[in-house]
């Protein structure tokens, strides 16, 4: 599957991420060299506090990088205007939507904002894109509901649909499976896999569901204290990258099943 399309959409070179205040720089992770292949589902995993969110925030230009390079379609990320970036990259964030009074259709339609006129009128083409996105995620029956009527799982599907409607080559999701039950965690990640296959988009998500990610992703980025490794799940397992992801006193990685076990 890796040979299908070797074109790189997002690439980092010697990237360091962290927080910069006037007084000091707080380095969270450094020497990050990753390349996202077009048309792949990529999972970003690592322990709490290792810097997954910081990395994603830097890749999406929510916060500034400390040093190194981020290239989106071979162009430096910083050279993109807000609007250009909105047409190349869409996001699903962990933060709650501010207004729950929006209908599902209205919320998804906001994904078309980079393309609409000054007052945000939807053209027929916009509506066609929205309906296509809704068909992809199978949420026709939610279309006319208000956001406050939805469960967490449904809302996450709606947010993914909104990102689809933004019609970008790359979709980045920050922990899309938090607050969801086991079934919906699997459902959402499976949905992402399906979207990659059907639409040819590249999807990067961070998650704590390492077992599921190993089963579904085309490639994975693993962050641990020493380094950031990126490869296909099988190769990562054979390299033993998962073995020292967490302190081994409590959980260990079982190479045969590709999952974690609690020490009894």
């Amino acid at each position: 599957m890796e040979n299908k399309n070797q074109h790189i959409i997002l690439e980092t070179k010697n990237l360091s991420v962290g927080y910069k205040t006037k007084k000091e720089e707080k380095l969270i992770a450094s020497n990050i060299n990753i390349a996202l292949q077009k048309g792949q589902l990529i999972g970003l995993v690592g322990a709490n506090g290792i810097g997954k969110s910081t990395l994603l925030r830097s890749l999406t230009q929510v916060q500034a990088k400390l040093s190194g390079e981020i290239l989106l379609n071979d162009k430096p990320l910083a050279s993109y205007s807000n609007l250009e970036l909105a047409k190349s990259m869409s996001l699903v964030l962990t933060e709650k939507v501010a207004s729950k009074n929006l209908s599902v259709f209205e919320l998804i339609a906001l994904g078309r904002q980079p393309y609409t006129n000054w007052v945000g009128t939807l053209s027929e083409e916009d509506i066609a894109v929205i309906n296509k996105a809704i068909a992809h995620t199978n949420i026709e029956e939610l279309k006319n509901k208000k956001c406050f009527e939805l469960s967490d799982g449904q809302l996450q599907k709606v947010m993914i649909t909104r990102a689809l409607a933004q019609d970008t080559d790359l979709i980045i999701l920050d922990e899309p499976t938090t607050h969801l039950d086991m079934y919906h965690k699997a459902y959402i990640l499976k949905l992402l896999q399906k979207l990659v296959k059907e639409t040819g988009k590249t999807i990067l998500f961070s998650s704590h569901e390492i077992d599921l990610a190993i089963q579904l992703c085309d490639s994975m980025i693993v962050m641990n204290k020493k380094e950031v490794v990126s490869d296909s799940p099988c190769k990562l397992i054979s390299k033993g990258v998962f073995n020292n992801l967490f302190p081994e006193d409590l959980i260990t990685f079982d190479v045969n099943t590709g999952s974690f076990r609690v020490k009894k």
């Binding site: 807000n82 970036l85 909105a86 939507v97 207004s99 009074n101 209205e106 906001l110 945000g120």
Partner: protein
């Protein structure tokens, strides 16, 4: 997405109600004027001093005040992602009051010769606009530091307290006349504007309204929250600035010309959302305009106490209508939505 056409009937009804309220408003007053005379003086065939120079400008002022406060409330509720935001609650009206208090009452403190020059209508207008703009700026700076929107509301309340404290201090040093002038300004009044003043008021109002209209798309994007809005290509700083300028122009001039009118800015957007049940600003903005104008005209008609010689302070009437709306919003079972 619901378009304007979906709500066509509702808009037609609202426009008719607005026209009805407008005529009712100029028909009612302490002096009863036959309807025929009213119509004639409106088209100019008969000259009626009360209609042409008192009731007509007052009705227009009511429309500008109601719609302007409603729109500035709507803008702020979206910008601050808080259903309780409004020019009064956020302390913007207090800021304007503070400016006016400094001009009217401070004139006595800071010297006699300047006083006469300072206390003109225009200096009051400028002081009120400046005061509201400064408070809004302060609220914005705080809101970028503090993520908790409750804190912003508390800060708004604090500005209210500071205003009343400064007013108490100033009133201790000022003459009875000045104090009376300030207190009367504080009651709010729609009926004090000449046509010329109304013209200036209208021009500033229009600028605020136009800025609100060009913010419609940005406001809709902000419904998703700031980070999403940015990811959708919105120039956050610029949009926020335009929205703030629009709000302070609207709320500032209204407070300057009509006094601090309570609760209209907070209550109107909520009443509108109850009827239109949408979050889309393309629908909400014109709807809020109509609702604001209608309710302000009704409040003014009530304040006139038709057929009696008394006039109630407009601020009392709007509070009587607005405060229960706020209480009702807070005790409603469903979480407040905006």
């Amino acid at each position: 997405m619901p378009k304007l056409t979906t709500y066509r009937n509702a808009f037609i009804v609202l426009i008719l109600v607005l026209i009805l309220c407008f005529f009712a408003n100029i028909s009612l007053g302490s002096v009863s004027i036959p309807f025929k005379t009213i119509l004639e003086s409106l088209i100019g065939s008969t000259d009626n001093y009360i209609i042409q120079n008192y009731r007509l400008p007052k009705a227009f002022t009511a429309i500008l005040v109601g719609s302007g406060l409603g729109i500035s409330g709507l803008l702020m509720q979206t910008l601050f992602r808080n259903p309780l935001a409004g020019p009064f609650v956020l302390g913007i009206t207090s800021g304007a009051s503070l400016g006016v208090a400094l001009i009217i009452l401070g004139a006595g403190v800071f010297g006699g010769t300047l006083a006469g020059l300072l206390v003109s209508k225009w200096s009051i207008v400028i002081a009120a606009s400046l005061g509201s703009f400064l408070v809004l700026l302060a609220v914005l700076i705080v809101s970028s530091r503090v993520r908790d929107t409750m804190a912003i509301l508390i800060i708004g309340l604090m500005f209210g307290s500071i205003t009343s404290a400064v007013v108490s201090v100033l009133s201790y040093f000022s003459s009875a006349e000045q104090l009376q002038q300030y207190i009367f300004w504080g009651f709010g009044s729609l009926g004090n504007l000449s046509w010329k003043e109304l013209g200036i008021f209208f021009i500033i109002y229009l600028i605020g309204l136009l800025l609100s209209i060009i913010s419609i798309k940005g406001l809709n994007t902000l419904l998703l929250g700031e980070n999403y809005a940015k990811s959708l290509g919105l120039n956050l700083k610029q949009s926020r600035f335009i929205i703030i300028i629009a709000t302070s122009l609207l709320a500032g001039t209204i407070t300057a010309f009509a006094g601090p009118i309570a609760f209209i800015g907070l209550a109107i957007p909520h009443i509108t959302r109850q009827v239109f049940n949408t979050a889309n600003h393309k629908v909400l903005l014109p709807a809020v305009f109509l609702f604001g104008a209608i309710i302000m005209l009704i409040c003014d008609s009530i304040a006139q106490l038709p057929t009696s010689d008394y006039t109630l302070p407009i601020n009392a009437i709007t509070s009587l209508i607005g405060a229960p709306v706020v209480i009702w919003l807070l005790v409603r079972k469903r979480k407040m939505i905006f």
